[in-house]
C-alpha cells in the first residue's frame, strides 16, 4: 500500500525509513524528496487547541492514488508514498507525508511539490479547528 489514511498518530520519518528499506530496491533511488505537514498551534492569528480532520472514505483514497500514479508516471519515479491523518489531531501531530523516490533529484523534488499542491487543492479532507472560543471550519488552503 502506497496510499494510507491513518486514524492514529504516526511517525512519518519512520514510515519513510521503513518504506525505503522494505519496498525499494537498494541502490536504485538516488533521490528522496519528502514533505511532512504538521499541525501548528496557531492559525490566522489564533491559538488552536485541537482539530478534527474529516474525509470522504473511498473518494479520498482514490484521489490520492490517482495523484500518486500520475506523479510516478509523469516524472518517471521509482516509487511514491502518501500518508494522511484523519480524526482528532493535536498541535505537533503530523498530518501528511508525501515522498517521491527517483534516480535523480530534479524529478523527486518536482514530484514531491506537485503532489502536495494536488493534495491541497483536490483531496477531500476538511479541517475543523477547536479554539478557546469555540470551533471553526478552515475555509480554504493557502496556495503553495
Amino acid at each position: 500500500m502506497t496510499v494510507e489514511i491513518r486514524e492514529h498518530p504516526f511517525d512519518p520519518w519512520q514510515a519513510v525509513s521503513e518504506y525505503r528499506s522494505t519496498r525499494l530496491a537498494s541502490g536504485k533511488s538516488g533521490a528522496s524528496a519528502v514533505f511532512v505537514g504538521t499541525m501548528r498551534d496557531f492559525n490566522e492569528g489564533d491559538e488552536v487547541q485541537a482539530m478534527v480532520l474529516e474525509h470522504y472514505p473511498g473518494m479520498t483514497e482514490q484521489q490520492l492514488e490517482d495523484m500518486r500514479s500520475e506523479a510516478v508516471s509523469k516524472h518517471g519515479l521509482e516509487d511514491a508514498l502518501v500518508v494522511h491523518r484523519v480524526g482528532i489531531v493535536h498541535p505537533g501531530d503530523d498530518i501528511v507525508l508525501v515522498a517521491a523516490f527517483s534516480a535523480h533529484r530534479k524529478e523527486a523534488l518536482a514530484a514531491c511539490r506537485e503532489m502536495m499542491e494536488t493534495l491541497k487543492s483536490t483531496a477531500p479532507f476538511w479541517k475543523k479547528e477547536t479554539l478557546a472560543e469555540g470551533e471553526r471550519w478552515v475555509e480554504r488552503n493557502t496556495p503553495g
Binding site: 473518494m59 483536490t122 476538511w126 475555509e139
Partner: protein, 76 residues
C-alpha cells in the same frame, strides 16, 4: 429515481445530515439534487462528486447514483 446524497464538513452541518436519500422524478442534474435537498441555489464554491468522482453541477445523474456536496477541501 433514487439518489443517495452525502454532505461533508460545513455543508453537512448546514443541511443537518451526513446522508439523505432523494426519491423524486424530474431530477436531471447534480444541481437539481442540491435544490431538492436544500431548497436553495448552489453557491459558487461548492464542490460536487458523483459516484466519488468530481463532477460539475450540471452533470447528469442516474438512478442509484451517489451525489456528494462539500466545501473547498482543506487537507494537507
Amino acid at each position: 429515481m433514487t439518489i443517495n446524497v452525502r454532505f461533508f464538513a460545513s455543508l453537512r452541518e448546514r443541511i443537518g445530515h451526513a446522508t439523505l436519500t432523494v426519491e423524486a422524478d424530474g431530477i436531471a442534474s447534480a444541481r437539481d439534487v442540491w435544490k431538492a435537498v436544500s431548497g436553495e441555489s448552489p453557491d459558487e464554491e461548492m464542490l460536487v462528486a458523483i459516484n466519488k468522482e468530481y463532477a460539475g453541477l450540471d452533470r447528469a445523474v442516474a438512478d442509484g447514483d451517489e451525489v456528494a456536496f462539500f466545501p473547498p477541501v482543506t487537507g494537507g
